[in-house]
């Protein structure tokens, strides 16, 4: 018994370095950042006296940050949505006793092994208007401008829809600040190229976990292939879908490398994101407090997504 308790002390002592490291470098530094974000540290003198919410107010009033938030929402919806659809489609194609399945699977997955920087460099060339896919498909480079396109699709204020929205008090939404920047779609394509294989792998593993008897039973009951998929398979894939949305969603909220390698901020901040705004504010302009505020906003966004997931995951772990 003494042996056991000594081992218990040893075990806790050996866990301490990791616990301390995470305590300091994750939680401590988040607290430190929070303090910086509430301070006057907006130049090299790094004045840490508190300044209330001034930095948050400044940041949220900044048009660039507002557009960054718009871009984050649009990018996240498009990137996560497209990855889910393509991943599910590929998994379903592969789950049909395909010859060369292993080959296709590896092919869809290899982009995950390379960095967003390499992906960005390659896709930049693929989508440069004077080169790449425009040459391949003979597209007009004047109209297919990809990531250089400044167009933002939105409801025009003087259109019928715009007037209707104004009449119900939503006129503010009929502006480019709530639109969809065309240039963002180039980043979406590159990100989907890199990450859709991951979704495919998740779905494929889940599909393989569904017992064949279940499919057969549904078929015996007279279900069509579509009904089988829609009523039996898809509901069983729901937990995997949640996982995929969380993982892709938090990557999307943090997106930085790909954008730096491929487009930078783009025309009229069409491809700018909170991460690049944070970096420039903090490390180019030395406005540390504002940069920290952006970092904290990003953390809140990610935590909103991740914390419920972590709790959900832990409950599952306990009941397993």
């Amino acid at each position: 018994m003494r042996r056991l308790s000594r081992d218990r002390i040893v075990s806790i002592a050996l866990l301490m370095p990791a616990v301390l490291a995470i305590g300091v470098f994750v939680y401590g530094m988040i607290g430190w950042s929070l303090w910086v974000s509430l301070s006057k540290a907006n130049d090299l003198s790094f004045d840490m006296r508190l300044n209330g919410l001034a930095n948050y107010i400044a940041v949220f009033n900044n048009i660039r940050f507002q557009l960054d938030l718009r871009n984050t929402v649009v990018f996240t919806i498009c990137f996560v949505g497209a990855s889910l659809v393509i991943g599910l489609l590929l998994a379903n194609l592969l789950d049909r006793r395909i010859r060369g399945e292993a080959f296709f699977r590896s092919l869809f997955l290899f982009p995950l092994a390379i960095s967003f920087i390499v992906t960005g460099v390659v896709w930049k060339w693929l989508l440069t208007p004077s080169a790449g896919v425009n040459i391949l498909f003979g597209l007009d480079q004047a109209t297919n401008r990809w990531f250089t396109d400044p167009t933002v699709l939105h409801i025009a204020a003087d259109s019928d829809a715009g007037r209707f929205m104004a009449s119900i008090g939503l006129g503010g939404l009929a502006s480019s600040e709530f639109g969809i920047p065309i240039a963002l779609m180039s980043l979406v394509i590159a990100a989907v190229w890199q990450m859709s294989g991951f979704v495919m792998a998740l779905y494929l593993a889940a599909l393989r976990g569904i017992p064949d008897e279940l499919r057969e039973a549904a078929r015996v009951d007279g279900a069509s292939e579509w009904q089988l998929f829609r009523r039996v398979i898809l509901p069983l894939l729901a937990p995997v879908t949640v996982t995929a949305v969380i993982i892709l969603g938090h990557i999307s909220l943090k997106i930085y490398d790909l954008q730096q390698a491929m487009t930078k901020q783009g025309p009229g901040f069409a491809t700018d994101f909170p991460a690049s705004y944070m970096w420039q504010t903090a490390f180019n302009d030395n406005e540390f407090a504002k940069g920290a505020a952006v970092g904290i906003v990003m953390l809140v966004l990610v935590a909103t997504l991740i914390v419920p997931y972590l709790i959900w995951n832990r409950r599952q772990d306990v009941t397993r």
Binding site: L14, V19, F25, V220
Partner: protein
């Protein structure tokens, strides 16, 4: 419905054999198209990398094979970025090795020496894997500078180890949970303590876990851009930052850019090709599904 019972045949479908064959054809066609989407960037990387500057500059011919395949562009790119390639290796290898040792220890304790609150602690550690590093970057820069680690490879190694703790702990913990408690108990009966159990029961079974974690940590350290671009200067840039700047500095020398990008991607691609199964396991572990 007699066909249903046939064990190895394709499940019974409605429709004529001809229609089924057509559906199969459509299936392979769709897979082929998807394959093209994933392959095209790689094709371009190789083809452009093997062209000369003058040839690569002719965008109208960019999809064509090089007139004469040469590795000059790779040589040129390598001359520029080989120091950075070495920097990446000097960061990623020690980071991966030390991370996996630490992760194994943490995982062992959290799986086999649970204590009151250890599960909560584990969840708190896991959170560190998801945070946007922008929310700690300013203090991190201050600390690195204060410790004299700014613009050093050692500084980056330490950062990758620290921020790798959540994922490495997760992978090993989930791996060790799968090792039957009876084995641990039997070893304990034989008089083994904390270290004895680890050395004689867990460690010999840990090889796949180590492979998964080594690959994962090597890949994420090799591919890191944000920490490197914030915390190192030009002389200590790893390959990602160098390749990103290659794209900015050369006047649209696509041949050099593609060659450089390919060189940057090669080590992790090689690992993927050789050890894809283990790579996948790390990937799925990242979604907490061990």
């Amino acid at each position: 419905m007699t066909t249903v019972a046939a064990p190895t045949s394709v499940p019974a479908r409605r429709g004529l054999p001809g229609a089924r064959r057509l559906a199969r054809l459509g299936l392979y066609l769709a897979l082929g198209l998807a394959a093209l989407f994933y392959v095209i960037p790689v094709y371009l990387l190789f083809m452009t990398g093997m062209k000369t500057f003058a040839e690569a500059a002719q965008t109208s011919l960019m999809w064509q094979l090089p007139q004469a395949a040469s590795f000059d562009s790779f040589g040129q790119a390598w001359q520029t970025i080989s120091p950075n390639f070495m920097n990446s290796a000097k960061i990623a290898v020690p980071a991966a090795v030390l991370s996996s040792l630490l992760g194994s220890l943490n995982g062992y304790i959290l799986a086999k020496w649970r204590f009151r609150g250890s599960e909560t602690l584990f969840t708190l550690i896991l959170f560190g894997m998801f945070i946007p590093y922008q929310s700690i970057l300013i203090p991190l820069l201050k600390v690195e500078a204060g410790l004299g680690l700014y613009n050093t490879l050692l500084g980056l190694v330490l950062i990758h180890i620290i921020y790798g703790i959540p994922i490495t702990t997760l992978i090993f913990r989930n791996y060790y949970v799968g090792i039957p408690e009876e084995l641990v108990e039997a070893s304990r009966m034989d008089g083994a303590g904390f270290f004895g159990i680890y050395r004689h029961v867990l460690l010999p079974l840990s090889v796949p876990g180590f492979v998964v974690v080594l690959i994962w940590q090597f890949t994420s350290a090799w591919n890191d851009f944000l920490f490197a671009v914030t915390l190192t200067g030009q002389d200590n840039w790893p390959i990602t930052v160098a390749v990103n700047n290659l794209a900015g500095s050369f006047e649209v020398a696509w041949n050099i850019q593609m060659a450089g990008a390919l060189i940057a991607a090669l080590p992790t691609l090689l690992i993927y090709v050789l050890l894809g199964k283990f790579f996948m396991r790390g990937l799925l572990a990242g979604s907490l599904k061990g």
